[in-house]
């Protein structure tokens, strides 16, 4: 996100803190994709993801005064979403994906996306521990570096690196031999 967009969102945050509902709505719109995607990929079903997303933003509603900047807001939302998802997952057994529609929604439907890779990714995510899943999502969905992941999850950085490494190793084993589509991604 560039500086102009960040400045704008900082302005909305200030307005939202003083009670302006339109500004709060803009903040929700700006961050809901990220929160919803994290919730969906952590919990596995649309219903649970929607519930969690709603809870997170309602919690934000009551904690706006503590949020100092849009950057802090992003950090807070990721932290609350992942922590609450991890708590939920710990209270119940392995997540089951129930419908093909929901499976397709879990991963971005890009033209030319490899369906075999998609299936393996789904299996990988559901096989990972809640913490490992959170680390993977924060790294590859939110593009956080390991230090920021460590701060978000309140976890030692070496644990983050170790979880990333092991998750990728598992992925390599499960996707070995597949022809994968290669894209250059900026760091």
């Amino acid at each position: 996100m560039n500086d102009a967009a960040c400045d704008l969102l900082d302005e909305y945050l200030a307005k939202a803190r003083s009670g302006e509902r339109a500004a709060l709505a803009s903040l929700v719109r700006a961050h809901q994709r990220s929160v919803y995607s994290l919730a969906l990929r952590m919990l596995g079903t649309r219903d649970l993801a929607e519930d969690l997303t709603q809870d997170v933003f309602m919690q934000l509603n009551g904690n706006l005064g503590a949020i100092e900047s849009n950057r802090h807001l992003g950090f807070w939302l990721r932290q609350v979403t992942t922590n609450r998802a991890i708590d939920q997952l710990r209270r119940r057994s392995r997540v089951q994906l129930t419908s093909l529609d929901e499976e397709q929604e879990l991963f971005s439907a890009e033209d030319g996306a490899d369906p075999l890779l998609q299936r393996h990714l789904r299996e990988l995510l559901s096989d990972l521990s809640p913490q490992a899943r959170a680390v993977l999502l924060l790294r590859y969905q939110e593009d956080l570096d390991p230090m920021d992941i460590a701060r978000t999850l309140d976890m030692p950085i070496n644990t983050v690196k170790s979880l990333l490494k092991r998750s990728l190793e598992t992925m390599r084993e499960k996707t070995g031999g597949l022809t994968l589509r290669c894209e250059d991604q900026p760091t």
Partner: protein, 121 residues
């Protein structure tokens, strides 16, 4: 292959939007529920006020303590991060300087060879 896996992950894990219907419901719900205000102390019955006062004071003290502890932990975490960042800066510059030295040695070695080949220069 490994670069493909991580590129594939980034591609597959791009954020997805919730349904428009959910989005509208969410905005409506957030707009309809402003932050809760604390209840006015004056509306409590007289008999409950001393107990409530004691409870509120204890809670406030616990809160201050908790915030203090949290700040201390946060400070410790920041210090740890800062020291780690310092270590990484020093390491990065050390690595850079080693490689600059390699380049320097190669250039120096080339200059020496040229001087040996052409003694008049």
């Amino acid at each position: 292959m490994n670069q493909d896996i991580e590129s594939g992950l980034r591609s597959a894990l791009r954020p997805v939007a919730p349904s428009e219907e959910f989005s509208e419901q969410l905005l409506a719900r957030v707009a309809a529920h402003p932050p809760a205000r604390p209840k006015s102390y004056g509306l409590m019955p007289r008999s409950a006020r001393p107990l409530a006062w004691w409870l509120a004071t204890t809670l406030a003290a616990c809160l201050v303590l908790a915030v203090g502890v949290q700040r201390h932990l946060e400070q410790q975490r920041l210090q740890q991060s800062g020291l780690e960042a310092r270590r990484e800066v020093l390491q990065a510059l050390r690595v850079t300087s080693q490689k600059l030295n390699l380049a320097y040695e190669a250039v120096k070695s080339e200059s020496t060879s040229l001087a040996d080949e052409k003694p008049g220069i």
